[in-house]
């Protein structure tokens, strides 16, 4: 899926103050391309990712997915789009504590109404090497294992776009490397467009292209 970001801006008002979190951000990502978004803390990376996912609405500009304006859709329309074509990986993993690893992977499949949710989820867990931990709860898994479950979950619905917000931010270098390895491997296998927000130079190095945010503006990388 091709993504075009055009003059994206986000402004919030905190009391009297006007805060420009993002201003005039424009770039394009080709279908299947891998892009890293770098930048210091508070530069607006997560905000940008949230906008690309349609989780929030921009103040100015637009996001086009295969040429269609994402924000022409209403909230529920965007949700349906996410369900169809987006996968997510988060810094804090965001596995549901009450569910087993398998159930966590099944969740988006079930939301999509897939009858074969369990089979697919098992295959995905196998691909991330966690078949043996299918019945374990997140609290019983290490950080790296949890992020691998999150990857299995993200790729289970065969997304055309994978959005990852600092997927290795909570992991040590070695584990981070394993997770990065796995993520790119899955991405290659499924041919999704990948946008990763990261501080991690190693991770950024794996991407075909790197973009840098500074104070809410795109700087030359």
């Amino acid at each position: 899926m091709r993504i075009d970001i055009e003059h994206l801006g986000k402004t919030v008002h905190v009391g009297e103050n006007r805060l420009d979190i993002l201003s005039d951000v424009s770039f394009s990502v080709n279908s299947g391309e891998t892009v890293a978004i770098l930048g210091s803390s508070g530069s607006g990376k997560s905000t940008l990712l949230g906008l690309i996912a349609g989780l929030d609405v921009p103040s100015t500009g637009c996001v086009r997915l295969d040429g269609d304006d994402l924000f022409a859709l209403d909230e529920d329309g965007r949700a349906a789009l996410r369900a169809r074509s987006m996968g997510f990986v988060f810094q804090s993993f965001q596995l549901l504590p009450g569910l087993t690893a398998l159930e966590n992977v099944m969740l988006p499949l079930e939301l999509a109404g897939r009858g074969d949710a369990e089979q697919i989820a098992r295959v995905q867990l196998q691909r991330v090497g966690l078949t043996a931990r299918a019945r374990h709860r997140p609290t019983q898994l290490s950080g790296g294992e949890q992020q691998r479950v999150a990857l299995a979950r993200a790729f289970a619905v065969a997304p055309r776009v994978l959005l990852a917000d600092e997927p290795t931010g909570n992991l040590d270098a070695r584990t981070g490397a394993q997770v990065i390895e796995l993520m790119f491997e899955l991405n290659r296998a499924q041919g999704a467009t990948l946008i990763v927000v990261t501080h991690d130079v190693a991770l950024a190095g794996h991407c075909a292209r790197r973009l840098r945010l500074e104070g809410g503006r795109l700087a030359a990388a």
């Binding site: 996410r82 369900a83 965001q94």
Partner: protein, 828 residues
């Protein structure tokens, strides 16, 4: 949407396994269980008590008429499977040789009474026993008073109108008459066949006809509905409540108390549900945001969770109802013997109540919270600080409040009770908020100067201001339920003890002649019977009220007519009897004359007011006096009672006899023989059986109430525990953090203890204050009881609150205290 139900179900199962739902289900199920157990049990007890009380009516329902009841009523009742019996009653002179006396004549059919039984003795003052038979044709059963008045014994003959009857038994107990014999004429009971032979029942004579009915409650109600429309003038239905006001009071109070318990259980159920749901919502913020991020529409999530919670509510309702049913079955099994009530099987209403309550509580309380959940921004997955928007507290909880109010009024079965309790609870919630704002917050400002333990605890209360307030509300609600049920029960049982305490007089002596007073007094005291008073008794007819002639026929009221037709009992006393209460005017000063003190009920019936001039015809002489006081007395106190009392001097020269009542223990029954031998003209009236019947009824009511009381207490405690459980996750992390930052286990324990202690004291104080107020209002307005302000309630509230909350809180946190800080910090 296809598959949604399925998914909702799978999510339900997973949440259940994850332990997310257990607390919610448990809280709601227990709440429903307590509610239905109380309701099941209350229903059964109520039916049982009414049936018990009906033995004192001789039937379940009576059609009373001033003319013979049309035969179609009896035929219809029989056709509907009801038992039927007819009685006829009127006043007439009974003759025996030279003697004559006015008696209440009553004809009965075989099979009378339909409920309960008569008791008879084969000789005057002989041993009596219950009987299933009735007077045969040509026979008369008379009570001891009539036997005494006529000087007849079993085997003698008496004349009633044109009929000559042989006395074959002394009637010692007739349920219908109660303990109010002083106001009634002596009894003669005869067979229906002899009624015509007396020639007394003619057109125009004052006769009361009764059609007694008994049978299945539903059939009775249907018959009543059928007959109601066909009643002729002078016909009306009476049930035990109408016929026996003193029993009505017992039954009504029991019913209201059970209603109160059920009400409080509704409130506790609501509190438990609300508490559990809050936690549920807190724990579902993340899943909700994540699901939104995965592309589930808001609508779909609402559907999903609504279906999930609906299923949960239904399950909790069903589970709770089964538990409630089992609990009441257990209670009945356990207490059936103690209560000695034959409890009819439980009805179906509580089942409906339980399921509806479970579902309604969960849905009503979750609706606003779900709407809040649905508004959780999906962005929360990226920015943890984003919570659900604050809903307008009042609006959001409107549904819950409406459902609780609906349940309250449904359960109260009495708008006034429901209203008072609802107002009380509102007052409670407000007081909790005020107490926290005005007392607790200033206290925490001062806490900074305390040592680390208490400071941490107090500041923690402050930090979670809203949570603290909610917890205090829930805790004080639980405590309120406990205190209120205790207080009302106390007032009530106190009034019972006053009504028929052990040692209640069970023997009356009448017809004591003035010259026998001294001898009788000596006779009794020589046998160590000291607790009695000999009252002079004068019989007089009321002729004028404030100059107007009293014409019995002019009264619409049946009772008023009956009272003015006959002479009634006056006494002459210097002091008001100890068990009488002057409710208007004042007792006379020594030496005052020309005044009367009148019983309040009589005054009301006859329209007599303070200051009215009454004139009596006593032995042919007129006696006038002004009414200077009204007295309230308990007719069923088994003491000698008088409608009208005059100063001693006023009736000094009037012919009189004396009466007294005292308690004769069963073991000393032999004294009765000695007594009647020594004073042959004195008539002894044994009311032991009447006292016993009433006492039995009260004991059973008390037993039943006790059970429900204990059950409600248990639920109250449960809610307290649930309230303390709400912040568990957060508390775990807090404790972990404190420990990680270097607080010793001791400091943490002290912090927790001071937090719980302050919370408990605060909730206890609020609950005690509102409970005292509410108990007073309920006693006045609903239970019609004298309320003794009870300062102990403050001690109980504060002490109980402190002890319960402290113990439960520390117990619940014990595990958190012991766990290594890391585990607590990693808790989800």
């Amino acid at each position: 949407m296809f598959g949604n139900g399925n998914l909702a179900w799978r999510m339900l199962v997973r949440d259940w396994r994850a332990g997310e739902l257990r607390l919610l289900l448990l809280a709601v199920a227990l709440a429903v269980a307590s509610l239905t157990a109380v309701r099941f049990f209350a229903d059964r007890v109520e039916l049982g008590l009414t049936r018990e009380a009906n033995t004192l009516l001789a039937a379940d329902l009576v059609l009373v008429s001033d003319h013979p009841v049309d035969a179609t009523f009896a035929a219809e009742a029989r056709a509907r499977g009801l038992e039927v019996s007819v009685t006829t009653a009127f006043l007439s002179m009974v003759l025996a040789g030279e003697e004559n006396a006015l008696a209440g004549i009553k004809s009965v059919q075989p099979g009378y009474p339909l409920r309960g039984s008569l008791r008879v003795a084969s000789e005057l003052y002989g041993v009596d026993a219950p009987t299933r038979s009735t007077p045969a044709p040509g026979e008369a059963w008379i009570d001891a008073r009539l036997a005494g008045a006529l000087g007849v014994a079993v085997g003698d003959h008496v004349e009633v109108g044109d009929a000559r009857l042989r006395v074959t038994a002394i009637l010692t107990f007739e349920g219908e008459r109660g303990g109010n014999f002083m106001a009634l004429a002596p009894r003669l009971m005869l067979n229906e066949i002899d009624l015509a032979r007396t020639g007394l029942v003619q057109e125009g004579s004052r006769v009361i006809h009764r059609l007694l009915l008994a049978g299945d409650a539903a059939a009775l109600n249907r018959f009543r509905a059928w007959a109601q429309a066909r009643l002729a003038r002078g016909e009306r239905f009476e049930d035990v409540r109408a016929a026996r006001p003193e029993l009505r009071q017992v039954l009504d109070r029991a019913q209201r108390y059970l209603g109160l318990a059920a009400l409080l259980n509704v409130l506790l159920a609501a509190a438990a549900t609300q508490i559990a749901l809050r936690r549920y919502v807190q724990r579902h913020l993340d899943p909700f945001a994540l699901l939104r991020c995965f592309g589930a529409s808001r609508r779909r999530l609402l559907d999903l969770y609504f279906a999930q919670l609906g299923a949960l509510g239904l399950a909790a309702g069903a589970l709770g109802t089964s538990l409630g049913w089992a609990a009441q079955q257990g209670m009945t099994r356990l207490l059936g013997d103690t209560l000695r009530l034959s409890l009819p099987p439980p009805g179906w209403t509580p089942v409906l109540l339980g399921v509806v309550t479970g579902l309604a509580l969960v849905l009503a309380f979750s609706l606003p919270t779900l709407v809040r959940l649905a508004r959780v921004p999906a962005l929360r997955v990226l920015r943890r600080d984003l919570g659900p928007p604050r809903a307008g507290a009042l609006l959001a909880h409107g549904a819950g409040v409406a459902v609780v109010a609906g349940l309250l009024f449904w359960q109260a079965g009495d708008a006034r009770l429901g209203g008072i309790v609802a107002a009380g609870v509102l007052a409670l919630l407000l007081s909790a908020v005020l107490a926290i704002r005005l007392l607790l917050w200033p206290l925490t400002a001062w806490a900074r100067r305390l040592s680390p333990g208490p400071r941490l605890g107090l500041l923690n209360l402050r930090r979670h201001g809203w949570e603290t307030t909610l917890q205090a509300m829930a805790l004080s609600l639980g405590l309120l339920a406990l205190l209120l049920l205790t207080l009302v029960r106390g007032d009530w049982f106190e009034s019972w003890r006053a009504q028929a305490p052990p040692g209640t007089p069970n023997l009356f002596l009448i017809n004591i002649q003035p010259w026998q007073v001294q001898a009788l007094d000596t006779h009794l005291r020589a046998r160590s019977i000291d607790d009695f008073m000999l009252y002079p008794m004068v019989r007089g007819r009321l002729t004028h009220i404030s100059g107007r002639v009293v014409d019995p026929a002019a009264f619409d009221d049946d009772r008023a007519r009956r009272l003015t037709e006959r002479e009634f009992n006056l006494s002459a006393l210097a002091q008001p009897p100890a068990h009488n209460e002057i409710i208007a005017g004042a007792w006379w000063r020594p030496g005052e004359t020309g005044v009367f003190s009148v019983e309040a009920g009589l005054a009301r019936t006859l329209g007599i007011a303070l200051g009215d001039e009454l004139r009596f015809d006593i032995g042919g002489l007129p006696f006038s006096g002004r009414v200077t006081s009204l007295r309230k007395l308990e007719w069923d106190s088994f003491r000698v009672n008088f409608f009208v009392i005059a100063p001693v001097d006023m009736l000094a020269d009037v012919p009189r006899s004396y009466v007294t009542s005292f308690h004769l223990p069963a073991s000393r029954r032999a004294l009765l023989g000695e007594l009647v031998a020594a004073f042959p003209n004195v008539t002894a009236i044994d009311v032991e059986q009447v006292v016993a019947e009433l006492r039995t009824l009260m004991d059973r009511v008390a037993g039943a109430v006790q059970v429900i009381f204990v059950f409600s207490l248990a639920v109250g405690v449960l809610v307290l525990l649930a309230a303390l459980h709400t912040r568990r996750d957060e508390r775990a992390r807090e404790i972990g953090l404190w420990r990680a930052l270097g607080a010793s286990r001791r400091v943490v324990a002290i912090a927790l203890a001071s937090e719980f202690a302050v919370l408990g004291l605060l909730a206890g104080a609020v609950a005690a204050g509102v409970a005292s107020l509410l108990a007073w209002v309920l006693a006045q307005r609903v239970f019609d009881l004298a309320h003794a302000p009870n300062p102990w309630i403050w001690l109980a509230g504060l002490g109980g609150g402190l002890a319960l909350v402290l113990a439960a809180g520390l117990l619940a946190s014990r595990e958190l205290l012991r766990a290594p800080p890391l585990r607590s910090l990693n808790r989800e």
